[in-house]
Amino acid sequence: MTPSARLGRRTLLASAAAAAASPLAAPHVRGQVAPVKIGILQPVTGALAQDGEHGRLGAEIAIEEINAAGGIKSLGGARLAMVFGDARSNPEGGVAEVERMQAEGVVAIVGGFASPIALAASQAAARYDIPYVVDVGVSDQIVQRGLRNTFRFGPGFGTVTKAALDNLVAINEAAGRPARTVVIVHEDGLFGSGLARLLNAQLPERGFQVLEKISHPTPSRDMSNVALRIRALNPDVLIPSSYYSEFVLLARTMQQQRIRPKATYAVLNGAASNFRFVREFPEAANLIMDCNHWADPRKPKTAEVRAKAEATGRFRLYNIPLNYSCVRLVADAIERAGSTDRTRIIEALAASTFEDHIMPYGPTRFVNGQNQGAAPVNTQVQDRDIKVIFPREFANANPIFPAV
């Protein structure tokens, strides 16, 4: 080996060491404020990966924004650092990640997405008093367990169903009551069957006749039989409650077989409020209504977050604004607590009146961990876009009903 080569290696080693040490030195340069670690728990592998990826994106946008605006001011401008955990679409995965987040010293956890993950993970977090904000999970059991660390920013199942029924009646009456008969198609899991049972009980009280409840498993690879049954029953309104793939399959089959009810009115549907569906199958998606989580179109911040999300090449899903808002809610609680002490953050969350979010909820107010202002909205696919049609005070389009 020549001397120059040895010198070269030394220089290389020295510069590598300097480069490796620079991130360690950086916080001292910035002013010795330790970052505040916040756990983001989402399923990014397995069946729920699409939702989890979008949830993570929403959280990332919020953390980036908060850090760019100077971090947590009451903690001397401490930056938020994300500790990400993949829940692997099952509760054990969620619990294992909560344990890891505890070991890494997070001050709060946001996410979960599915109810089973949120139930198990929030319970695991309760053991360490880690504040846990559920992003989506609609099961009402989540906030009925008396866990003081668990908060849900979005609406639960009961609220969504009631709103869905009220809005359906209102839309129908505004159009002169053209719809009287209903067929419910639902997946046989937590969402679908619970929802179908509630709808089946309450629709007759509101002047609708339920012709049939048709259930299908998830995953299903063929919806022809369901579509044929719908054709035979010929309902005015079809209410589907399924996950993404099954609903897309049903909508496409119905389009091919030219089955056109007066309205397809989805509740908490995995596809009807998903831009991927609208872009990929615009004709099948056209005029489908959904009652679901959705960002408030009146708020200027909504468009900003949307632009940031779309710049990453992803479709716009409700997971993005919900997680964005949940992270901001937690940041606001840390700001007010002026501490990274978990008990104080829980107290700050419980007393929260946070309103700088992009959901159509108004100021936050938690009762037993449930945000009282949380409510779903009604959307409709119109002109290859998803518009808000109800409630009227912040709708950006009129409902097109009946569709045929």
Binding site: T45, N90, E99, A103, P116, S139, G189, G192, G194
Partner: protein, 327 residues
């Protein structure tokens, strides 16, 4: 193998695993080890029937789920204490095993037909659990969080770990005892050649029914542990195919028909999964989710390709090879 070394090796493994939590404070590791123990108990149950008896079941979820739901329902709906619910839930699992065994073995189902029937039973139970109000339907059932040893919930994760380890050691001792008694010999005879065993006077149906009952009881105990660890169940968790697969894969990888095979298999299966996850995670910064699962799959294929009789089988083959080379 002498009696002392036969049981001593199980107890030595138990002691070694029991000392582990004294060396670590990490709850992440403890959480992983508890899950590993639960899978190892379920796999030991499968091994008794599949490994020793040669009756390959694809539906051990039926027993796991019955144990888990039994534990949850007896506590939450019947108001029973967790410790009182535990033996009843295990007995319920054993009863389900007995019913399936009597129906399947009386009908002389063997091989793939038996596997399909067990799968079907597990699926039927999953669908029932998904609709019955008693199981909480699709919304699932929650066991209330009451951290108190009286309710089988411990503030210190190590205690739960030791309880789970106690179950595993108990199950392993049971399998060892079975291996050394006449019943074990009958069971192996059924595996090797059922017709020959029958001709020699072994009541093959009775032996298989007894084996599936014991096997179901052990797997149901794993279900009880799962319910107490995670405190939430739904149909897909309790009766879903995931546990049937894990309970089957662990002994197959570790060495079916051996006492320690399921434990080793569970360790390799879950350990490999965690290691690839951590390794890929640090390598890519979590940028590409799922790559670790691909690597895990490849390693699993290699494992099965090069160790068709499981890791214990591979080890004994290597030992034999070495001895042969020396001579």
């Amino acid at each position: 193998m002498s009696k002392a070394s036969a049981y001593g090796s199980v107890l030595a493994l138990g002691a070694a695993l029991g000392a582990l939590p004294l060396a670590t404070e990490s709850n992440v590791l403890l959480n992983f080890l508890i899950f590993l123990l639960i899978v190892a108990v379920a796999a030991t149950g499968w091994n008794l029937l599949g490994g020793y008896g040669g009756q390959f079941s694809f539906g051990h979820a039926a027993f796991f789920g019955t144990g888990a739901y039994g534990m949850a329902i007896l506590q939450e709906r019947a108001g029973l204490n967790a410790w009182a619910a535990l033996p009843i839930a295990i007995a319920l699992g054993a009863a389900v095993g007995r019913v399936i065994g009597v129906l399947a073995f009386r009908a002389r189902l063997r091989g793939s037909y038996f596997a399909l029937v067990t799968l079907a039973f597990a699926e039927v139970l999953r669908i029932l659990a998904n609709v019955l109000p008693m199981t909480g339907g699709a919304a699932g059932i929650l066991i209330r969080l009451r951290i108190d040893p009286w309710h089988f919930q411990f503030a210190d994760r190590r205690v739960f770990y030791w309880v789970a380890l106690g179950f595993l050691v108990g199950a392993l001792l049971l399998v060892r005892a079975m291996e050394r008694c006449r019943f074990g010999a009958w069971l192996v005879a059924v595996r090797e050649n059922e017709d020959a065993a029958c001709a020699l006077g072994v009541d093959t149906v009775a032996v298989k029914v007894a084996a599936i009952t014991l096997s179901a009881a052990i797997t149901a105990a794993a279900g009880c542990l799962y319910a107490q660890k995670f405190l939430y169940l739904d149909a897909a968790i309790a009766y879903g195919p995931w546990i049937s697969v894990e309970a089957l894969l662990a002994p197959v990888i570790g060495g079916a028909g051996t006492v320690f095979g399921p434990v080793l298999g569970a360790l390799v299966l879950l350990g490999l999964g965690e290691l690839t996850k951590a390794w890929i995670g640090t390598l890519t910064g979590g940028a590409v989710p799922g790559v670790d699962l691909v690597l895990f799959g490849v390693l699993l294929i290699l494992c099965v390709a090069f160790a068709p009789r499981g890791i214990l089988g591979l080890l004994s083959r290597l030992r034999f090879g070495l001895r042969w080379a020396r001579s």
